[in-house]
Each structure stands twice: as structure tokens, then as C-alpha cells.
Symmetry: C2
Subunit: 380 residues, 2 copies
């Protein structure tokens, strides 16, 4: 962060929308960014100092990419952590740390970590295959998760009753007690190498009924202040117990009894923090940058109540994307569109998001519903 | 604004900081940007879909650049307006319109336009050379301006008394009565092809005593509401009388008698609107984009009082830039740094800016002074 000509290069594994919004923040700091992504048309392709097309999962590709960077980070968890580990051992700064990425890549290890560290989470059983899931039918209703490769709703399914057992994953995974939650919330925490730690206010998420993706997000979460405090303490506890540097989104359930249980964590900017670009003093993308570069962390306070709506590809449309209703939506005060530069749409693909601001919570929700109804991502 | 694959290309003449901040907004709309700039290391170089190195003043270069674009705009006035005129005649959208650029390129024509259109401005005399300035010494104290090529404080000087006459510009220019103003303010207006027009709240500028550059900016301006209304009406009047499409910054003097006089105008995002990125519902860069693309204009209201500090190259330092004090400054809540990606600094070069937010005006000013004292742009 000293001279423009000598500043360290930040390498990012993944060049999707999270990398794209990170770049929008990095521009403000003259922070040069190198991107690695398998897709030659990835959302970051025209917006960085170096764009390399290559696999995030291939050891040699990731290792070679890291050679030209000073600091490395990710915008997706499923990357070759071994290559990052080697780069770390050779003196590169890698945040989140490769060992934490490995832990998070496997939901089974993640759950065991919570258990060992006394972090509240839903009760679970590890299962090696479909047979073991069936054997544990007494544990239903439960969420059946694949240990690895789950992402954006894939690799997660609800098994309500014995009839659902035929769909059980036939691979190492887990069964998690289905929580009859009151709300789903998320708290973002960030920590830098110097040990500074900041905690964002809790947000409330409403998920799409079938796609298992965040459909709406509201900030602040409408929860009792003691529940919020508990959630913030848990999020802090998780990042500290991981010893992680970077930004971490902690998704949690609030049960009807006011209990707070960790659901999943993401060691990177996350869908539950997109509203922070306009709604908070420091956006999650800038905070991510500050934390991995070991700059002082920014203030996480909310400037204004906000809602966030994911713009998902409409069902029934696959092909070159067409955005409908954008002009009507942006005519409204406090409506911010963020398109992700993806040329092709398919059902439920994350094509963009919209943040809505309003000091009046009722109006905010009305505006969010309206925007949701207006903007549609279809194809030609 | 329909499909990602068929969206019109916006060509921008100039790839400096204004283009760079425009790109940060354009990313949100999947708006592809082509940039033309003579400097191969211009601030926009790694951040756009196409970057062409070439003169902005050469007819053939500008004309050829425009061929691949659907809409053309500028981030600097001194461009080849003839080439833009030809492109306009051939069906390209060019905003601001080439004829308006020509008018603004010549301060003499600009002043005559105000006079003819009944727009209040300081009294003036056109002068062809040094001799004519000397001949009009009775008009002193006055501001002596070159007709063409003045920019960022160059081509403008104050002639207080006869002793200063030896410095008078020996080229077509003008003498303008020195206004004993109370404040300098600016109002930004924007207008799209459909005729939508929005007016930003007035801001107050404090200029550097010798460099004739904005040093501090405060929003809102601390002026009486009737003065603000008058200023807004004048700014609207200017854009309407120009018939301009795009964004226009109108710099004005407020005299001790509460009179409002137009000083200069800029038909593009301007230094007096940088704070809008964080402080207003719609930033000037997004508004520029909306206006030239003929999208609905955004709400211009202030979300929070703000100050803006230009980060100018320190006197006595020329060479590769080093930023001092950045980390201390960004530790403060509501401090936003924007570096412009310029590798080399020189005295008074605009290297970046900082916006400061605070609901409390006294604290805001304190914070702005503090930031100003902390961040220094020096060289290795």
C-alpha cells in the first residue's frame, strides 16, 4: 500500500461476480489484481491487470499462477488447496489459509470442527454412502449433505420421510437434523494479520423454496438484540477458533426458542453481504481486500436499512441473457443494480443482484417486492 | 440495456480518473466501454473492453475510434469536436453534443453564450492579445483567461493591478471582473435524450490558494435556501439553453449580496461531484452513464453530509508516486479513498481524492482537515 509502482499483486482464484465486485473496490486503492478462472469469458476478464484462463483445481495451474502474486485469496472454496499450501510454505501470503479452505471444502470436517470447538450447530451423523443414510432413517426429517463439491444449493437436499430415502446421496456425506427455524440469519466477520477483528450487523435471509438460494435479504435482521449479540459472538468465535485471516460469512439458524446454530460458513465475500456495497460504511468487498492485504479494517455499521434481491435466471430460459424491466426498476429512488457480466443465462443462475435502500422498513419491503416482480432475466 | 450480448458500446474520449470512475459504475450495468487516450498507462487501461492509445485531438484517430462505438462521450473537453460532429452526422449518438463541446472549448464563446442567453455571469471584455489587455487596464482587478486550452487551473490568472500586466496572456482571451465572492459553489445537472432532467444539491468548494484547484468540497453548501434555489434554477437554465444531453457541472460564485453568477461549466463528471459516489443516492458517474445512454435518471439527493479532499502531488516531488498516511486515514469511520492509478506524481497533479462522511458538520470538517493533514503524495 505504499507506491503505485511497487505495490504487491493480489492474485484471486476465481473470476466470477465476487471477484468482479472485489475489483471495483480494489480500483480505489490502485491495487493490482491477477485473476485465474477456467472460463475465458468470466465476469472479471476485462477488468484486471492479468487474466489467466486455467483450472482452479489443478495443482500445477494454481501453483504457477501464484508465482507472480504476492498475496493470494479466493472467491470460491473449491480450489486446489495443496498448491496454495505449497505457495504458503514458500512465503506467499495466502488468505484464507489453505488449511482452512481444506476444512471448509469438506462439510463433514466442517461439522466436526464445530462439534470439537463447542460451536453450536445442528446435531448430525456422518454417512459414508446411501446405505448408511437408510440405516439412520430414525434421524429423519434431516438435511442430507454431500461432504464435498456442494455449491449454490447443489449437494444439499431435505429428506423428510422414508419415501425420500431413495434420493439419498450415495457418497460420503452427512445427515443433519432438520431445524424448525424461525429465521435464517448471517453475520460477516473479518480479521487481518495484525489481529484486527470486525463484526457486521446480522442480516436476515429468505431462501428460494426449491432452489436453495438466497432470494431476499434484509438488513438489519428483525431479531431481538440478545439474539443478535449471541449471533455476533458465535461468528467471532468461529473466525478466532479457525485462526482465519480474511472475511468470513457465518450463516445461522435462529430457532423458535431463540437458540442460534451455525449452518454453514464461507471464507470469502458472500451473497449475504452484497447489500454492504451501498448500505454499510465499508462493503464486504473492501473489507475482504483490507483483511487479506493486512490494512486496517473498516467500520461495518449499517448506514441505512437495505434489502437485497438476487437476480436469478428465470426458469424456462437458457441462452444469451436479456434483462427485462431494468429501466423501470432503476427509476425508483435507492435502487442499485449489479449485473455480473454473464452472457449466458440458465434457470437459477446468479446473473446479478439488486440492493434497495429505504429508511422506512415497510416501504423497503414493498420496494424490494416490486423490484423482484419487475426485473426478469430471460433469453433471446 | 437489453441483452448482454447485443448491448451498445460506449466509447469514451479520455481514459483518466473520470473515465476510471465511470467504468466502476458501468460494470454494474454490463455496459461495455471502449477508451481512447494518448497515454498507454492511462488510469483506465486495464479496466475496459477495449483500450486504444491515440490522440484525442487528431481528427482521424477520433473518427476511427468512434466507428466501433454506438454512443460516444468524453471525460475531457479538449477533444477533436469535428470528428465527433462527423460521427454524429453519420448516426452515432454523441453526448455531450459536438457543438456544445466546441462552445465550451472556447471560454470566449462560453462567456458570450451566457451574455446572449441572459445567464448571470461576471462582466467581461474579450481581448485578442497582451496589448488589448494592457489597453483595458481600467478593468482591473480582473481574471485573465485564455480562450482555449485552459485546464485544471492552467490558462487562468488574476491581474490585480497594473504591475501584473506584464504577465497578461498574449493570445485570444478575455478579462473578467474579479468577483469579491462570498462562496464558490457548484450544481450538477443531468439530462437524457428523453428530456428527463435532475439537479443535484449545491456543494461548496474551497480552492487551493495558488494552484487554482479545488482543495476541499463540502456538501451540502452552507448557503441560504433561496440562494440554493437560485443556483439550481440557473444550472437548469444552462443545460436547457444548451439543449445538452449528459451531465453538466455548473460552477458559480455567490456574491456578498447573495447574487449568483456562473463562473465555468464542465459537460462531464467533474471534481465538484466526486463525493456523490458515497454521499448521494446516485453518483455523478452513474448519472453520466444514465444520461448518455438515455436510461431513466437517478435520484440526486444527498444521503449524508460529505467533504471531498483532492489528493494532489506534493510540491517538491516528481517521479514514481508513494502514498503516505493512507492506512491511518482509512482507519477512520466514513473515510473513502479513491486513487487514480497514476504511477507518476508531480506537484499539484490530481493523484486521487478522499470523501469523508459524517452526519455532524463540525465533526465532518474536523475529519476532513485531519485526512488532509495525514495523506501525502510524494515520490520515492
Amino acid at each position: 500500500m505504499k507506491s503505485t509502482s511497487h505495490s504487491p499483486i493480489l492474485g484471486v482464484l476465481g473470476g466470477g461476480q465476487l471477484g468482479r465486485m472485489l475489483i471495483q473496490s480494489a480500483i480505489n486503492y490502485n491495487q493490482d489484481i491477477h485473476i485465474l478462472d477456467p472460463d475465458p469469458n468470466a465476469p472479471c476478464k476485462d477488468l484486471c491487470q492479468e487474466f489467466t484462463v486455467g483450472s482452479l483445481k489443478d495443482f500445477d495451474t494454481v501453483y504457477a499462477f501464484g508465482q507472480n502474486c504476492d498475496v493470494l485469496t479466493v472467491e470460491i472454496e473449491s480450489v486446489n488447496a495443496e498448491a496454495l499450501k505449497k505457495l504458503e510454505l514458500e512465503g506467499k501470503k495466502v488468505y484464507p489459509q489453505p488449511d482452512i479452505l481444506k476444512l471448509i471444502q469438506d462439510k463433514r470436517e466442517q461439522k466436526q470442527f464445530y462439534k470439537e470447538q463447542g460451536i453450536p450447530t445442528a446435531e448430525f451423523i456422518l454417512t459414508e454412502n446411501k446405505e448408511e443414510v437408510i440405516h439412520n432413517k430414525g434421524f429423519l426429517p434431516a438435511v442430507n449433505k454431500l461432504g464435498k463439491e456442494g455449491y449454490d444449493g447443489r449437494g444439499v437436499q431435505i429428506l423428510k420421510s422414508e419415501e425420500d430415502l431413495e434420493n439419498a446421496f450415495d457418497a460420503p456425506g452427512l445427515l443433519e437434523k432438520l431445524i424448525d427455524f424461525e429465521k435464517e440469519i448471517a453475520v460477516t466477520v473479518a480479521r487481518n494479520e495484525a489481529g484486527d477483528l470486525t463484526v457486521y450487523p446480522a442480516v436476515e435471509c429468505a431462501f428460494h423454496p426449491t432452489a436453495n438460494l438466497v432470494e431476499f435479504l434484509f438488513a438489519p435482521a428483525e431479531i431481538a438484540s440478545d439474539v443478535e449479540e449471541k449471533a455476533k459472538e458465535i461468528a467471532k468465535d468461529v473466525i478466532l477458533k479457525l485462526g482465519m485471516v480474511g472475511i468470513l460469512a457465518v450463516e445461522m439458524f435462529v430457532t423458535k426458542e431463540g437458540e442460534v446454530l451455525v449452518n454453514e460458513i464461507a471464507p470469502r465475500p458472500h451473497n449475504s453481504g452484497h447489500h454492504t456495497i451501498e448500505a454499510n460504511f465499508t462493503s464486504q468487498f473492501e473489507q475482504h481486500l483490507r483483511s487479506v492485504m493486512n490494512w486496517p479494517l473498516g467500520n461495518p455499521d449499517l448506514r441505512c436499512p437495505a434489502a437485497m434481491i438476487n437476480l436469478l435466471g428465470e426458469e424456462g430460459f437458457t441462452g444469451p441473457a436479456v434483462v427485462e424491466g431494468q429501466e423501470v426498476a432503476i427509476s425508483e429512488k435507492g435502487v442499485y443494480i449489479h449485473m455480473y457480466g454473464k452472457k449466458l443465462t440458465k434457470p437459477f443462475r446468479k446473473m446479478g443482484h439488486v440492493t434497495v435502500l429505504d429508511d422506512d422498513i415497510t416501504k423497503l419491503k414493498e420496494k424490494a417486492m416490486k423490484v423482484k416482480g419487475i426485473i426478469k432475466i430471460k433469453s433471446i
